[in-house]
Protein backbone atom coordinates (compact mmCIF):
# COMPACT_ATOMS: atom_id res chain seq x y z
CA UNK A 1 0.00 0.00 0.00
CA UNK A 2 2.78 2.40 0.87
CA UNK A 3 4.52 2.20 -2.47
CA UNK A 4 1.82 3.75 -4.64
CA UNK A 5 1.26 6.49 -2.04
CA UNK A 6 4.91 7.50 -2.07
CA UNK A 7 5.05 7.41 -5.80
CA UNK A 8 1.94 9.48 -6.07
CA UNK A 9 3.01 12.19 -3.66
CA UNK A 10 6.27 12.64 -5.52
CA UNK A 11 4.64 13.06 -8.91
CA UNK A 12 1.56 14.94 -7.87
CA UNK A 13 3.08 18.38 -8.16
CA UNK A 14 4.55 17.99 -11.65
CA UNK A 15 1.26 16.49 -12.78
CA UNK A 16 -0.63 19.54 -11.65
CA UNK A 17 1.83 21.81 -13.35
CA UNK A 18 1.47 19.96 -16.59
CA UNK A 19 -2.26 20.08 -16.37
CA UNK A 20 -2.11 23.86 -16.32
CA UNK A 21 0.42 24.03 -19.09
CA UNK A 22 -1.15 21.90 -21.78
CA UNK A 23 -4.73 21.32 -22.73
CA UNK A 24 -4.45 18.31 -24.96
CA UNK A 25 -7.17 15.65 -24.80
CA UNK A 26 -4.74 13.26 -23.14
CA UNK A 27 -5.03 15.42 -20.02
CA UNK A 28 -8.20 13.42 -19.28
CA UNK A 29 -5.87 10.62 -18.28
CA UNK A 30 -5.12 12.54 -15.10
CA UNK A 31 -8.59 11.86 -13.78
CA UNK A 32 -7.75 8.15 -13.65
CA UNK A 33 -4.98 8.43 -11.02
CA UNK A 34 -7.08 11.04 -9.22
CA UNK A 35 -9.89 8.57 -8.61
CA UNK A 36 -7.90 5.37 -8.32
CA UNK A 37 -5.66 6.91 -5.67
CA UNK A 38 -8.64 7.93 -3.59
CA UNK A 39 -10.34 4.57 -4.02
CA UNK A 40 -7.13 2.84 -2.87
CA UNK A 41 -6.74 5.02 0.21
CA UNK A 42 -10.46 4.68 0.94
CA UNK A 43 -10.19 0.88 0.84
CA UNK A 44 -7.20 1.03 3.16
CA UNK A 45 -8.94 3.26 5.67
CA UNK A 46 -12.07 1.14 5.53
CA UNK A 47 -10.06 -2.03 6.24
CA UNK A 48 -8.17 -0.35 9.06
CA UNK A 49 -11.41 0.96 10.52
CA UNK A 50 -13.09 -2.45 10.35
CA UNK A 51 -10.07 -4.17 11.87
CA UNK A 52 -9.58 -1.69 14.69
CA UNK A 53 -13.26 -1.29 15.50
CA UNK A 54 -13.66 -5.07 15.42
CA UNK A 55 -10.65 -5.60 17.69
CA UNK A 56 -11.98 -3.04 20.11
CA UNK A 57 -15.31 -4.81 20.30
CA UNK A 58 -13.54 -8.15 20.53
CA UNK A 59 -11.68 -6.89 23.64
CA UNK A 60 -14.96 -5.93 25.26
CA UNK A 61 -16.49 -9.18 23.99
CA UNK A 62 -19.42 -7.59 22.30
CA UNK A 63 -18.57 -8.47 18.73
CA UNK A 64 -21.03 -11.36 18.46
CA UNK A 65 -23.96 -9.02 18.81
CA UNK A 66 -22.86 -6.53 16.17
CA UNK A 67 -24.61 -8.08 13.20
CA UNK A 68 -24.05 -5.04 11.03
CA UNK A 69 -20.30 -4.98 11.70
CA UNK A 70 -19.99 -8.72 11.13
CA UNK A 71 -21.74 -8.38 7.79
CA UNK A 72 -19.50 -5.47 6.86
CA UNK A 73 -16.39 -7.52 7.68
CA UNK A 74 -17.79 -10.45 5.76
CA UNK A 75 -18.42 -8.32 2.68
CA UNK A 76 -15.06 -6.55 2.91
CA UNK A 77 -13.09 -9.43 1.41
CA UNK A 78 -12.57 -7.83 -2.03
CA UNK A 79 -11.17 -4.60 -0.56
CA UNK A 80 -7.47 -5.61 -0.55
CA UNK A 81 -7.78 -6.71 -4.14
CA UNK A 82 -9.45 -3.46 -5.21
CA UNK A 83 -6.85 -1.46 -3.29
CA UNK A 84 -3.95 -3.27 -4.97
CA UNK A 85 -5.45 -2.89 -8.41
CA UNK A 86 -6.29 0.79 -8.08
CA UNK A 87 -2.86 1.38 -6.55
CA UNK A 88 -1.25 -0.04 -9.67
CA UNK A 89 -3.50 2.08 -11.86
CA UNK A 90 -2.42 5.13 -9.88
CA UNK A 91 1.25 4.38 -10.34
CA UNK A 92 1.17 3.18 -13.93
CA UNK A 93 -1.33 5.61 -15.45
CA UNK A 94 -0.12 8.44 -13.25
CA UNK A 95 3.42 8.46 -14.55
CA UNK A 96 2.49 8.54 -18.23
CA UNK A 97 3.88 9.54 -20.65
CA UNK A 98 7.05 8.54 -18.81
CA UNK A 99 8.46 5.13 -17.98
CA UNK A 100 11.12 6.68 -15.75
CA UNK A 101 9.76 10.05 -14.74
CA UNK A 102 11.58 12.87 -16.48
CA UNK A 103 14.22 10.55 -17.95
CA UNK A 104 12.70 8.01 -20.33
CA UNK A 105 9.46 8.36 -22.25
CA UNK A 106 7.18 5.35 -22.66
CA UNK A 107 7.29 5.80 -26.44
CA UNK A 108 11.10 5.59 -26.34
CA UNK A 109 11.23 2.55 -24.09
CA UNK A 110 9.23 0.18 -26.30
CA UNK A 111 11.16 -2.85 -27.55
CA UNK A 112 11.88 -2.20 -31.23
CA UNK A 113 11.37 -5.81 -32.31
CA UNK A 114 8.06 -6.26 -30.50
CA UNK A 115 5.11 -6.82 -32.83
CA UNK A 116 1.46 -5.98 -32.23
CA UNK A 117 0.63 -9.68 -32.48
CA UNK A 118 3.07 -10.57 -29.71
CA UNK A 119 1.67 -7.86 -27.48
CA UNK A 120 -1.92 -8.96 -28.02
CA UNK A 121 -0.98 -12.62 -27.54
CA UNK A 122 0.80 -11.98 -24.25
CA UNK A 123 -1.96 -9.71 -22.96
CA UNK A 124 -4.63 -12.26 -23.85
CA UNK A 125 -2.55 -15.04 -22.29
CA UNK A 126 -2.06 -13.27 -18.97
CA UNK A 127 -5.64 -12.03 -19.06
CA UNK A 128 -7.06 -15.53 -19.39
CA UNK A 129 -4.73 -16.93 -16.71
CA UNK A 130 -5.76 -14.24 -14.25
CA UNK A 131 -9.42 -14.67 -15.17
CA UNK A 132 -9.14 -18.38 -14.43
CA UNK A 133 -7.24 -17.91 -11.18
CA UNK A 134 -9.42 -15.13 -9.86
CA UNK A 135 -12.64 -16.99 -10.69
CA UNK A 136 -11.49 -20.04 -8.77
CA UNK A 137 -9.97 -17.89 -6.04
CA UNK A 138 -13.33 -16.17 -5.56
CA UNK A 139 -15.11 -19.51 -5.33
CA UNK A 140 -12.63 -20.73 -2.70
CA UNK A 141 -12.95 -17.49 -0.73
CA UNK A 142 -16.72 -17.83 -0.77
CA UNK A 143 -16.38 -21.39 0.55
CA UNK A 144 -14.09 -20.20 3.34
CA UNK A 145 -16.52 -17.45 4.26
CA UNK A 146 -19.45 -19.84 4.15
CA UNK A 147 -17.63 -22.27 6.45
CA UNK A 148 -17.15 -19.44 8.92
CA UNK A 149 -14.22 -18.74 11.24
CA UNK A 150 -14.52 -22.09 13.03
CA UNK A 151 -14.74 -24.19 9.90
CA UNK A 152 -11.76 -22.51 8.27
CA UNK A 153 -9.70 -22.34 11.45
CA UNK A 154 -9.67 -26.06 12.17
CA UNK A 155 -8.28 -26.72 8.74
CA UNK A 156 -5.38 -24.35 9.23
CA UNK A 157 -4.35 -25.30 12.75
CA UNK A 158 -3.18 -28.83 11.84
CA UNK A 159 0.53 -28.31 11.53
CA UNK A 160 2.20 -25.03 12.28
CA UNK A 161 5.06 -25.84 9.95
CA UNK A 162 2.77 -26.25 6.96
CA UNK A 163 -0.04 -23.78 7.45
CA UNK A 164 -1.44 -24.27 3.96
CA UNK A 165 -1.78 -28.03 4.27
CA UNK A 166 -4.86 -29.90 5.33
CA UNK A 167 -4.45 -31.27 8.83
CA UNK A 168 -3.96 -34.97 9.35
CA UNK A 169 -4.04 -35.99 5.73
CA UNK A 170 -0.61 -34.90 4.60
CA UNK A 171 2.75 -36.28 5.62
CA UNK A 172 4.73 -34.10 8.01
CA UNK A 173 8.40 -33.56 8.67
CA UNK A 174 10.48 -35.28 11.29
CA UNK A 175 13.29 -32.87 11.95
CA UNK A 176 15.11 -35.04 14.47
CA UNK A 177 15.93 -37.58 11.79
CA UNK A 178 18.97 -35.76 10.46
CA UNK A 179 19.79 -37.79 7.37
CA UNK A 180 21.02 -34.68 5.55
Amino acid sequence: LSLPINQYSSIQIPLRRRRRECHDPKADLHSIPFFTFRIMVGCGLLMLGLAWFGSLLQLTERIDRQRLLLWAICLSFPLPFIATLTGWFTAEVGRQPWTVYGVLRTADSVTPSLTVGETIASLAFFGSIYLLIFSFGTIFIFRLIKAGPDGGGAEVAGNAKRPMAVAGKAPVWHAEEAGW
Binding site: T111, P112, S113, L114, T115, G117, E118, A121, S122, F125, F126, I129, I133, F136, G137, F140, R143, K161, R162, M164, A165, V166, G168, K169, A170, P171, V172, W173, H174, A175, E176, E177, A178, G179, W180
Partner: protein
Protein backbone atom coordinates in the same frame (compact mmCIF):
# COMPACT_ATOMS: atom_id res chain seq x y z
CA UNK B 1 33.01 -4.74 -9.53
CA UNK B 2 31.87 -6.07 -12.89
CA UNK B 3 33.59 -9.35 -12.14
CA UNK B 4 31.91 -9.50 -8.73
CA UNK B 5 28.47 -9.10 -10.28
CA UNK B 6 29.26 -11.54 -13.08
CA UNK B 7 30.26 -14.16 -10.51
CA UNK B 8 27.20 -13.43 -8.38
CA UNK B 9 24.94 -13.66 -11.42
CA UNK B 10 26.52 -16.97 -12.39
CA UNK B 11 26.09 -18.39 -8.90
CA UNK B 12 22.51 -17.15 -8.76
CA UNK B 13 21.62 -18.82 -12.04
CA UNK B 14 23.37 -22.02 -10.97
CA UNK B 15 21.54 -22.07 -7.64
CA UNK B 16 18.27 -21.40 -9.42
CA UNK B 17 18.86 -24.28 -11.81
CA UNK B 18 19.71 -26.67 -8.98
CA UNK B 19 16.94 -25.60 -6.63
CA UNK B 20 14.01 -24.84 -8.88
CA UNK B 21 15.29 -27.64 -11.09
CA UNK B 22 14.47 -30.25 -8.52
CA UNK B 23 11.04 -28.88 -7.66
CA UNK B 24 10.15 -28.52 -11.34
CA UNK B 25 11.40 -32.09 -11.71
CA UNK B 26 9.18 -33.23 -8.87
CA UNK B 27 6.33 -31.40 -10.62
CA UNK B 28 6.93 -33.37 -13.82
CA UNK B 29 7.33 -36.66 -11.97
CA UNK B 30 4.07 -35.77 -10.21
CA UNK B 31 2.35 -35.71 -13.60
CA UNK B 32 3.68 -39.19 -14.41
CA UNK B 33 2.50 -40.72 -11.15
CA UNK B 34 -1.06 -41.75 -10.47
CA UNK B 35 -1.08 -42.83 -6.84
CA UNK B 36 -2.70 -40.08 -4.72
CA UNK B 37 -0.55 -40.86 -1.65
CA UNK B 38 2.64 -40.69 -3.70
CA UNK B 39 1.46 -37.41 -5.15
CA UNK B 40 0.79 -35.98 -1.71
CA UNK B 41 4.22 -37.04 -0.48
CA UNK B 42 5.86 -35.46 -3.48
CA UNK B 43 4.07 -32.19 -2.92
CA UNK B 44 4.90 -32.29 0.78
CA UNK B 45 8.57 -32.86 0.01
CA UNK B 46 8.83 -29.58 -1.91
CA UNK B 47 6.14 -27.48 -0.23
CA UNK B 48 8.45 -25.70 2.27
CA UNK B 49 10.98 -24.73 -0.36
CA UNK B 50 9.53 -24.42 -3.86
CA UNK B 51 8.59 -20.75 -3.73
CA UNK B 52 11.86 -19.89 -2.04
CA UNK B 53 13.61 -21.63 -4.91
CA UNK B 54 11.91 -19.37 -7.39
CA UNK B 55 13.20 -16.23 -5.69
CA UNK B 56 16.54 -17.11 -7.28
CA UNK B 57 14.96 -16.62 -10.70
CA UNK B 58 13.69 -13.23 -9.59
CA UNK B 59 17.14 -12.44 -8.23
CA UNK B 60 18.82 -13.50 -11.48
CA UNK B 61 16.43 -11.29 -13.45
CA UNK B 62 17.00 -8.37 -11.10
CA UNK B 63 20.77 -8.78 -11.26
CA UNK B 64 20.61 -8.79 -15.04
CA UNK B 65 18.42 -5.71 -14.94
CA UNK B 66 20.54 -3.78 -12.50
CA UNK B 67 24.06 -4.93 -13.31
CA UNK B 68 23.84 -5.99 -16.95
CA UNK B 69 21.05 -3.85 -18.44
CA UNK B 70 22.07 -4.39 -22.04
CA UNK B 71 21.96 -8.16 -21.66
CA UNK B 72 18.63 -7.83 -19.87
CA UNK B 73 17.07 -5.80 -22.66
CA UNK B 74 18.45 -8.07 -25.38
CA UNK B 75 17.50 -11.34 -23.71
CA UNK B 76 14.02 -10.21 -22.74
CA UNK B 77 13.37 -8.78 -26.20
CA UNK B 78 14.59 -11.85 -28.05
CA UNK B 79 12.75 -14.24 -25.76
CA UNK B 80 9.57 -12.22 -25.32
CA UNK B 81 7.03 -14.96 -26.07
CA UNK B 82 8.86 -17.83 -24.32
CA UNK B 83 9.36 -15.72 -21.19
CA UNK B 84 5.69 -14.78 -21.17
CA UNK B 85 4.85 -18.46 -21.58
CA UNK B 86 7.24 -19.43 -18.77
CA UNK B 87 5.84 -16.81 -16.39
CA UNK B 88 2.29 -17.90 -17.16
CA UNK B 89 3.26 -21.51 -16.47
CA UNK B 90 5.00 -20.52 -13.23
CA UNK B 91 1.89 -18.62 -12.09
CA UNK B 92 -0.43 -21.53 -12.89
CA UNK B 93 1.92 -23.99 -11.26
CA UNK B 94 2.28 -21.98 -8.07
CA UNK B 95 -1.44 -21.37 -7.79
CA UNK B 96 -2.22 -25.01 -8.51
CA UNK B 97 -0.02 -25.96 -5.57
CA UNK B 98 -2.26 -24.03 -3.18
CA UNK B 99 -5.58 -24.55 -4.94
CA UNK B 100 -5.54 -28.32 -5.25
CA UNK B 101 -6.08 -28.70 -1.50
CA UNK B 102 -8.98 -26.27 -1.55
CA UNK B 103 -10.60 -27.70 -4.66
CA UNK B 104 -13.46 -30.16 -4.60
CA UNK B 105 -14.37 -30.92 -8.20
CA UNK B 106 -11.43 -29.24 -9.87
CA UNK B 107 -8.51 -31.02 -8.23
CA UNK B 108 -7.72 -33.04 -11.35
CA UNK B 109 -7.49 -29.80 -13.29
CA UNK B 110 -5.02 -28.24 -10.83
CA UNK B 111 -2.93 -31.40 -10.80
CA UNK B 112 -2.64 -31.20 -14.58
CA UNK B 113 -1.85 -27.48 -14.36
CA UNK B 114 0.88 -28.25 -11.84
CA UNK B 115 2.67 -30.88 -13.89
CA UNK B 116 2.08 -29.34 -17.32
CA UNK B 117 3.21 -26.00 -15.93
CA UNK B 118 6.41 -27.63 -14.67
CA UNK B 119 7.01 -29.20 -18.08
CA UNK B 120 6.50 -25.90 -19.90
CA UNK B 121 8.85 -24.02 -17.58
CA UNK B 122 11.60 -26.62 -17.95
CA UNK B 123 11.17 -26.88 -21.70
CA UNK B 124 11.24 -23.12 -22.26
CA UNK B 125 14.35 -22.72 -20.12
CA UNK B 126 16.13 -25.50 -21.98
CA UNK B 127 15.07 -24.13 -25.36
CA UNK B 128 16.26 -20.65 -24.38
CA UNK B 129 19.68 -21.96 -23.36
CA UNK B 130 19.83 -23.87 -26.65
CA UNK B 131 18.88 -20.78 -28.64
CA UNK B 132 21.50 -18.69 -26.83
CA UNK B 133 24.17 -21.31 -27.47
CA UNK B 134 23.18 -21.47 -31.14
CA UNK B 135 23.44 -17.68 -31.31
CA UNK B 136 20.72 -15.05 -31.08
CA UNK B 137 20.42 -12.87 -34.19
CA UNK B 138 21.60 -9.46 -33.02
CA UNK B 139 22.72 -6.59 -35.24
CA UNK B 140 23.95 -3.21 -34.03
CA UNK B 141 22.91 -4.03 -30.49
CA UNK B 142 19.35 -4.87 -31.47
CA UNK B 143 17.46 -8.12 -31.77
CA UNK B 144 16.60 -8.76 -35.41
CA UNK B 145 14.96 -12.19 -35.26
CA UNK B 146 11.25 -13.00 -35.33
CA UNK B 147 9.00 -13.95 -32.42
CA UNK B 148 9.65 -17.67 -32.89
CA UNK B 149 13.36 -17.50 -33.50
CA UNK B 150 13.97 -19.27 -30.18
CA UNK B 151 12.15 -22.38 -31.35
CA UNK B 152 14.25 -24.55 -33.63
CA UNK B 153 14.69 -28.33 -33.73
CA UNK B 154 17.99 -27.79 -31.93
CA UNK B 155 16.53 -25.68 -29.13
CA UNK B 156 13.53 -28.00 -28.81
CA UNK B 157 15.95 -30.88 -28.25
CA UNK B 158 17.71 -28.78 -25.60
CA UNK B 159 14.33 -28.16 -24.00
CA UNK B 160 13.53 -31.86 -23.91
CA UNK B 161 16.96 -32.63 -22.48
CA UNK B 162 16.48 -30.10 -19.70
CA UNK B 163 13.05 -31.57 -18.89
CA UNK B 164 14.66 -34.95 -18.30
CA UNK B 165 17.60 -33.38 -16.51
CA UNK B 166 15.32 -31.52 -14.11
CA UNK B 167 13.29 -34.71 -13.66
CA UNK B 168 16.44 -36.53 -12.61
CA UNK B 169 17.14 -33.81 -10.06
CA UNK B 170 13.55 -34.15 -8.88
CA UNK B 171 13.88 -37.93 -8.61
CA UNK B 172 17.06 -37.44 -6.60
CA UNK B 173 15.16 -35.15 -4.28
CA UNK B 174 12.24 -37.58 -3.91
CA UNK B 175 14.69 -40.43 -3.16
CA UNK B 176 16.39 -38.33 -0.52
CA UNK B 177 13.17 -37.20 1.05
CA UNK B 178 10.86 -40.21 1.06
CA UNK B 179 10.77 -43.86 1.94
CA UNK B 180 8.95 -46.97 0.82
CA UNK B 181 7.24 -47.51 -2.50
CA UNK B 182 7.66 -44.01 -3.82
CA UNK B 183 11.42 -44.13 -3.28
CA UNK B 184 11.64 -47.45 -5.11
CA UNK B 185 9.68 -46.06 -8.05
CA UNK B 186 12.02 -43.10 -8.16
CA UNK B 187 15.08 -45.37 -8.07
CA UNK B 188 13.75 -47.33 -11.03
CA UNK B 189 13.16 -44.20 -13.06
CA UNK B 190 16.58 -42.73 -12.32
CA UNK B 191 18.24 -45.34 -14.53
CA UNK B 192 15.87 -44.89 -17.43
CA UNK B 193 16.08 -41.13 -17.35
CA UNK B 194 19.87 -41.10 -17.02
CA UNK B 195 20.07 -43.13 -20.22
CA UNK B 196 17.59 -40.83 -21.96
CA UNK B 197 19.50 -37.70 -20.94
CA UNK B 198 22.79 -39.26 -22.02
CA UNK B 199 21.28 -40.19 -25.38
CA UNK B 200 19.79 -36.71 -25.87
CA UNK B 201 23.12 -35.08 -25.04
CA UNK B 202 24.93 -37.24 -27.59
CA UNK B 203 22.31 -36.39 -30.21
CA UNK B 204 22.67 -32.71 -29.34
CA UNK B 205 26.43 -32.88 -29.66
CA UNK B 206 26.28 -34.57 -33.06
CA UNK B 207 23.54 -32.21 -34.17
CA UNK B 208 25.48 -29.12 -33.14
CA UNK B 209 28.54 -30.23 -35.06
CA UNK B 210 26.25 -30.91 -38.01
CA UNK B 211 24.90 -27.35 -37.70
CA UNK B 212 28.51 -26.15 -37.35
CA UNK B 213 27.65 -23.98 -34.40
CA UNK B 214 30.22 -21.32 -33.75
CA UNK B 215 30.33 -22.31 -30.11
CA UNK B 216 32.01 -25.58 -31.01
CA UNK B 217 35.14 -23.73 -32.06
CA UNK B 218 35.55 -22.91 -28.42
CA UNK B 219 36.18 -26.55 -27.72
CA UNK B 220 39.08 -26.56 -30.14
CA UNK B 221 40.50 -23.34 -28.72
CA UNK B 222 40.09 -24.44 -25.13
CA UNK B 223 40.72 -28.16 -24.84
CA UNK B 224 40.57 -28.00 -21.03
CA UNK B 225 36.85 -27.38 -21.50
CA UNK B 226 36.42 -31.10 -21.92
CA UNK B 227 37.08 -31.51 -18.20
CA UNK B 228 33.55 -30.34 -17.42
CA UNK B 229 31.66 -32.90 -19.53
CA UNK B 230 34.03 -35.55 -18.13
CA UNK B 231 33.04 -34.65 -14.57
CA UNK B 232 29.39 -34.67 -15.64
CA UNK B 233 29.80 -38.06 -17.27
CA UNK B 234 31.49 -39.41 -14.17
CA UNK B 235 28.62 -38.18 -12.02
CA UNK B 236 26.11 -39.76 -14.40
CA UNK B 237 27.94 -43.10 -14.27
CA UNK B 238 27.99 -42.97 -10.48
CA UNK B 239 24.30 -42.18 -10.60
CA UNK B 240 23.67 -45.15 -12.84
CA UNK B 241 25.73 -47.70 -10.96
CA UNK B 242 25.78 -46.18 -7.50
CA UNK B 243 22.01 -46.51 -7.21
CA UNK B 244 22.43 -49.96 -5.70
CA UNK B 245 23.99 -49.04 -2.39
CA UNK B 246 20.88 -47.09 -1.36
CA UNK B 247 22.50 -44.10 0.23
CA UNK B 248 19.46 -41.98 -0.39
CA UNK B 249 21.04 -38.58 -0.59
CA UNK B 250 23.58 -39.64 -3.19
CA UNK B 251 21.51 -39.49 -6.40
CA UNK B 252 20.67 -35.88 -5.73
CA UNK B 253 24.32 -35.00 -5.07
CA UNK B 254 25.50 -36.79 -8.21
CA UNK B 255 22.84 -35.09 -10.26
CA UNK B 256 23.81 -31.70 -8.82
CA UNK B 257 27.43 -32.35 -9.73
CA UNK B 258 26.34 -33.23 -13.27
CA UNK B 259 24.37 -29.98 -13.48
CA UNK B 260 27.26 -27.94 -12.11
CA UNK B 261 29.49 -29.54 -14.74
CA UNK B 262 27.01 -28.72 -17.49
CA UNK B 263 26.74 -25.16 -16.23
CA UNK B 264 30.52 -24.88 -16.10
CA UNK B 265 30.71 -26.11 -19.69
CA UNK B 266 28.44 -23.31 -20.82
CA UNK B 267 30.15 -20.63 -18.77
CA UNK B 268 33.64 -21.50 -19.96
CA UNK B 269 32.60 -21.82 -23.58
CA UNK B 270 30.70 -18.51 -23.44
CA UNK B 271 33.38 -16.40 -21.73
CA UNK B 272 33.99 -13.52 -22.20
CA UNK B 273 30.62 -13.32 -23.90
CA UNK B 274 27.31 -13.09 -22.10
CA UNK B 275 25.37 -13.72 -25.28
CA UNK B 276 27.78 -15.72 -27.40
CA UNK B 277 29.54 -13.72 -30.06
CA UNK B 278 27.37 -10.64 -29.84
CA UNK B 279 27.59 -9.22 -26.32
CA UNK B 280 30.48 -9.48 -23.86
CA UNK B 281 30.10 -9.22 -20.12
CA UNK B 282 31.97 -5.89 -20.11
CA UNK B 283 29.67 -4.48 -22.81
CA UNK B 284 26.58 -5.61 -20.98
CA UNK B 285 27.60 -4.17 -17.60
CA UNK B 286 26.07 -1.06 -16.10
CA UNK B 287 28.31 2.00 -15.50
CA UNK B 288 30.82 1.41 -12.67
CA UNK B 289 29.12 4.04 -10.48
CA UNK B 290 25.79 2.14 -10.62
CA UNK B 291 27.53 -1.16 -9.94
CA UNK B 292 29.32 0.29 -6.91
CA UNK B 293 26.05 1.72 -5.63
CA UNK B 294 24.34 -1.64 -6.03
CA UNK B 295 27.22 -3.43 -4.39
CA UNK B 296 26.68 -1.75 -1.01
CA UNK B 297 22.96 -2.41 -0.95
CA UNK B 298 22.21 -5.67 -2.70
CA UNK B 299 25.69 -7.14 -2.73
CA UNK B 300 26.43 -6.80 0.96
CA UNK B 301 22.98 -6.90 2.55
CA UNK B 302 20.28 -8.49 0.42
CA UNK B 303 22.25 -11.39 -1.05
CA UNK B 304 23.61 -12.71 2.26
CA UNK B 305 20.10 -12.39 3.70
CA UNK B 306 18.56 -14.49 0.93
CA UNK B 307 21.37 -17.00 1.23
CA UNK B 308 20.85 -17.15 4.98
CA UNK B 309 17.13 -17.82 4.88
CA UNK B 310 17.53 -20.34 2.09
CA UNK B 311 20.02 -22.32 4.17
CA UNK B 312 17.78 -21.97 7.23
CA UNK B 313 14.77 -23.37 5.39
CA UNK B 314 16.70 -26.40 4.20
CA UNK B 315 18.07 -26.96 7.70
CA UNK B 316 14.68 -26.74 9.35
CA UNK B 317 13.14 -29.17 6.87
CA UNK B 318 16.05 -31.59 6.64
CA UNK B 319 15.52 -35.30 7.02
CA UNK B 320 12.88 -37.60 5.67
CA UNK B 321 9.22 -37.17 5.14
CA UNK B 322 7.16 -39.29 7.52
CA UNK B 323 3.47 -39.93 7.18
CA UNK B 324 1.72 -39.13 10.41
CA UNK B 325 -0.38 -41.96 11.73
CA UNK B 326 -3.61 -40.97 13.41
Amino acid sequence: VTTYFAVILGLTILLYVLLDGFDLGVGMFFGLTRDPDDRRSMLASISPVWDGNETWLVLAGTLLWGAFPRAYSLILSSFYLPIVLMLGALILRGVAFEFRDKARGSRAFWDIAFSVGSFIVAFVQGAAVGAIAAGVPIENGRYVGGPFCWLSPFSALCGAALCFGYMLLGLGWVIGKTEGGLREKAYRRVKIYTCIVGFLLIVLFVYSSHLELQILNRWRERPYLAAFPMVGMGAALLLLFGARDRRDFRPFIFMSVAFIAAFGTFVVSFLPYMLPFSLTIAEAAAPPASLRFMFWGSGLVVLPMILFYTITVYRVFRGKLVTEVE
